[in-house]
Amino acid sequence: MKRHFALGAFLCFCFAFPSQGGEFDAARHKMVEEVSADTAATSSYSGSSALSPRVIAAMERVERHRFVPADLATVAYLNRPLPIGYGQTISQPFIVALMTNLMKVKAGDRVLEIGTGSGYQAAILAEIAGSVYSIEIIAPLGNEAGDRLSSLGYRNVQTRVGDGYYGWPEAAPFDAIIVTAATSHVPPPLLKQLKPGGRMVIPLGTQFMTQFLMLVEKKMDGSATTRQILPVRFVPLTGGH
């Protein structure tokens, strides 16, 4: 118990900057403006229209500097992925925005996240959705993220440390699922826990390098189709098509 307390205190020291929140507001606003502009510029390629106002508002509210290690807080609002320890990263804000947009989460929706990481994506989702359930496989990361989210007052996020393969059956079905953990295949139980009409987003690539996004749309008859989205305004042929 004592050890947990010490860990919690250490995390607060590392991650939370209660007195510096204001300093980062301008940087965060600038980051959101850049991400919005980038999304608009990429919309015809990524298949995602301009960022929804709800996603923009969430990005404006969630303080990314609280979700990165203390020594990286000053670069927290650069539009780049950052290391968070245990060989994991916090995604590039542009990718976070795009994935959240693709999930088309509505107020009151129930969302499942596999791969909590530092909890940033869960916090963004919590700003938009009714309830967020997030599972992390790396115990220290999951515990840290859980503590952080509750200390930041996210009452509609539930976190759990464990195997995300079987989802969160007690809370299923979900309107949207995001799988940021590396997976060789889409776990069938997750697809089962997605509501008909629901959307699942999976970024593919490796740490620091999201190659493309996969959007799985579950039709009303239970079958699924996927869209593979290159999150960049880039055509592979010179001169374009």
Partner: protein, 805 residues
């Protein structure tokens, strides 16, 4: 005056060479790519900088030669583990190279740290040469003998103990070299010898093996972070460090790109990692095929369904890259009558044969499975069997492949020549199947398709499009190359297989555009359009206009995973904040960064100290500078190109580095000795060099012409025979290459001795930069062109030599 410390110098030289080869091994474990080019460059930098230091400090050191020599040997002993230990502390992360501005500085730190042991070694060897100048040729012989023995000895050592323990042994050996030097130099400090021997013994017995920390972003590190993960087996050899991970709480569940329509979960599996990359699955098998149903839900199962349409109910299958057996299980699941499988690394097959035999259901001892521990190309070349299916296994991991981690490595499995060989071993109606990870925009798949088209054309097929089919899932792509036209029932099988699993048709003969892009929807049907373009007369235009490099890979340019193009790099870098950065191969910018730092470091550490010292007054004329610059570049070009060229023949980069380095060293030294003792009055320096360069040119051209065929016919021989053949091939060439340097040095000694330090320095500078530049040029132009360039540069050196000899 005591005689030179011959034994000590042999040992010292052996230590330095072992360390050079060992570092390539250690870096493969810590990071991804084998950093051979960077390590050779760092070694050259250490040697070059030590030459400059010796020039400047010679007079001060000379009175204390004995102590200085012993000190450098002891410093080498200390620096070898220390430099690697410190390099591991520098948080260099290649994946962040393009994101984080501090990464180039961290890379430079690693490079300079790696240089330090070579500086110590170079200083020790240089001290002996300068102190016993008149016995240089005998010293040289012992020096090279040690180096040659070291570069081969390290391979043997790596079979016996893991790399970290070789490093410990090396530390003890360098201390022993220092102790022996005390005896050989008849120094009065007996206590020093005793101290060094005791220290060496203590290191050998008590020094804990250094922990080798793989990058936190490697697959193994990530797997071990998961609760419940534990290492159940570790094995090491020069081919790689094998780690087997078990996790009963969070099972591995490896089913790469399994159809979204599938509902089953893979059976229990162990993760097999090679140098921390992977995993490939060692699947629990008890003879019951039902739990293996997931293997029918992968794109790689396609060829079995096509063969079934031919009434090939029990196909004969060859798996290239047996690994821990997934592809063999897939073949058996689909009723194969006989599965031959090739795997290079005995340690991997040993897992299934022995350690986990029961877990794997004694898979490799089944009467219908035959495992061959061999190099894939060599095996296919000599096999007399004809197969219904040759399956090239997907053994690299998705993460490493998609992040461009292999951009600089040679891969001889996916070249035009390789595909031609595979096709020639197919039974009538047989097919080759290659599965790759899906990348967007398409890279691997289209390059593979282009390679297959070229292979078919070279085999005399007029219309390659009738023999190709390609499908894609959401994560993998499978290409089929048949040795006859696809029939209507086969095409129907391809369609049905894909439809049932929601895989997309990317290409089959006579495919309509509206059949593409149905399940895994892309903004454009890139794969279909690319395949059609690659079969059209406008193929070269398409390849030229494509923003990734998808020119077919060949044995001369076997960098299959190089997709980098300069013109798209600028565009992607500009789009880095809009998701463009991950599409840039980081390995290529890393190579360029290494070149820049090699240039800067060698100017600062080799040339600048001379230019700022009294030597600035003895700056040589342009011909001398040009000559030593040229032979430095040419030697490295030749050496690096041959190392890479021999990777195919010797089956592994580490074997190639060790054998080629050893052969070049020993026989260049022999050439130097011959040139030195060749005292014909009419044979002036220029004539000697010209003759050597002409002979070298003839040999190089001859090798370029005969080597592909020679390798093809001899690749099946045992390793020992291949090593002897490689040495025999390199020997005459290296002997010629050993002539230009000492011949011109002797000439300078007679005419303008004060220019000698500059000659050393300029040659050192060219060697440092040349090692990296050769790799860069080989990727762009191919090995043949690099070898030809080396010959041309040698010819230029001949012309320059006439200016001062």
């Amino acid at each position: 005056m005591p005689r030179p410390p011959f034994i000590a110098i042999s040992l010292l030289s052996a230590c330095v060479l072992v360390y050079e080869v060992l570092l390539t091994r250690l870096f493969s474990i810590v990071l991804w790519h084998h950093f051979a080019y960077m390590i050779i460059s760092a070694a050259m930098l250490g040697y070059g900088a030590s030459g400059t230091a010796l020039t400047l400090l010679k007079e001060k050191i000379a009175p204390h030669f004995g102590a200085a020599y012993v000190l450098t040997a002891a410093a080498l002993a200390f620096m070898m583990p220390a430099a690697f230990f410190l390099a591991q502390q520098a948080p260099f992360n290649p994946l962040e190279l393009l994101w984080d501005k501090t990464q180039p500085a961290k890379l430079l730190t690693v490079y300079l740290l790696m240089m330090l042991p070579f500086f110590c070694g170079g200083l020790g060897i240089g001290l002996v040469f300068s102190h016993f100048g008149k016995q240089a040729s005998r010293i040289y012989a012992f020096d090279i003998l040690g180096a040659g023995a070291g570069s081969l000895g390290v391979i043997v050592a790596l079979f016996i103990v893991p790399p970290s323990q070789v490093l410990t042994a090396l530390t003890a050996l360098a201390l022993l070299a220092a102790a022996i030097a005390v005896v050989e130099l008849k120094m009065q400090t007996k206590w020093l010898m005793e101290f060094l021997v005791v220290l060496a013994a203590l290191v050998a017995v008590a020094m804990p093996a250094m922990r080798v920390h793989p990058s936190a972003y490697k697959d193994l590190s990530q797997a071990l972070n998961i609760a419940g993960a534990r290492v159940v087996e570790e094995r090491s050899s020069p081919l790689g460090q094998i780690t087997v991970v078990e996790n009963t709480r969070v099972p591995l569940r490896d089913a790469p790109g399994m159809s979204l329509n599938a509902t089953m979960e893979p059976p229990p599996q162990l993760g097999v990692f090679v140098d921390g990359n992977g995993p490939s699955a060692l699947t629990r098998f008890d003879g019951n095929f039902v739990p293996l149903g997931y293997l029918d839900q992968l794109t790689s199962a396609l060829p079995y369904h096509v063969l079934a349409a031919q009434d090939h109910a029990k196909p004969r299958v060859l798996v290239l890259g047996a690994g821990a057996g997934s592809d063999i299980l897939q073949a058996l699941y689909h009723g194969s009558a006989n599965v031959d499988a090739v795997e290079l690394d005995r340690n991997v097959t040993g897992l299934v044969r022995q350690r986990f035999r029961d877990y794997a259901g004694n898979l490799y001892a089944r009467p219908d499975v035959h495992i061959y521990e061999a190099e894939a190309r060599g095996f296919v070349n000599t096999s007399r069997e004809r197969y219904d299916l040759i399956q090239v296994a997907l053994l690299d991991s998705f993460g490493t492949a998609s992040a461009g981690l292999y951009g600089l490595s040679e891969n001889y499995l996916y070249t035009v020549e390789a595909l031609q060989t595979y096709l020639s071993r197919l039974a009538p109606g047989g097919m080759l199947a290659v599965t790759r990870w899906l990348t967007l925009p398409p890279r691997d798949a289209l390059k593979l398709f282009a390679t297959a088209v070229t292979a078919l054309e070279r085999g005399g097929v007029e219309n390659p499009g009738t023999r190709l089919a390609m499908i894609r899932g959401w994560k993998t792509v499978t290409l089929l190359v048949k040795n006859s036209d696809f029939t209507a029932p086969e095409i129907a099988a391809i369609k049905e297989f894909s439809r049932a699993r929601s895989f997309d048709l990317a290409y089959y003969p006579e495919m309509r555009a509206d059949e593409a892009n149905r399940y895994n929807i892309l903004s454009q049907p890139y794969f279909f359009e690319g395949a059609v373009a690659l079969l059209s007369p406008q193929r070269q235009d398409f390849i030229g206009q494509y923003k990734f490099y998808i020119e077919p890979a060949t044995d001369d340019r076997p960098h299959f995973f190089r997709f980098f193009k300069w013109n798209s790099a600028a565009e992607l870098f500009a789009l880095r904040e809009q998701g463009g950065m991950p599409l840039l191969d980081w390995s290529y910018p890393l190579l360029v960064a290494t070149l820049v730092q090699a240039f800067a470091a060698s100017v600062l550490l080799i040339l600048a100290p001379l230019a700022l010292s009294r030597c600035r007054r003895t700056l040589p004329g342009a011909p001398v500078a040009l000559y030593f610059l040229a032979i430095g570049f040419a030697f490295m070009f030749m050496e690096i190109a041959f190392i890479q060229k021999f990777v195919l023949f010797l089956s592994h980069p580490l074997y190639a580095v060790a054998v080629v380095l050893c052969a070049f060293l020993v026989f260049a030294a022999a050439g130097s000795w011959l040139a030195d003792h060749w005292q014909g009055g009419r044979w002036q320096a220029a004539n000697k060099v010209t003759l050597a360069v002409v002979a070298m040119g003839v040999l190089a051209l001859l090798y370029l012409a005969i080597m592909p065929g020679l390798f093809q016919s001899l690749i099946h021989l045992p390793d020992a025979a291949k090593i002897i053949i490689s040495v025999a091939l390199i020997a005459p060439l290296a002997m010629c290459m050993g002539v230009p340097f000492p011949t011109a040095m002797t000439r300078l000694a007679g005419t303008s001795e004060q220019a000698i330090p500059w000659a050393w320095a300029i040659n050192g500078f060219a060697s440092v930069v040349g090692a990296v530049l050769a790799t860069l040029l080989a990727i762009h132009l191919g090995f043949a062109v690099v070898i030809l360039l080396a010959v041309l540069i040698y010819a230029l050196a001949c012309a320059a030599l006439r200016g001062f000899a």
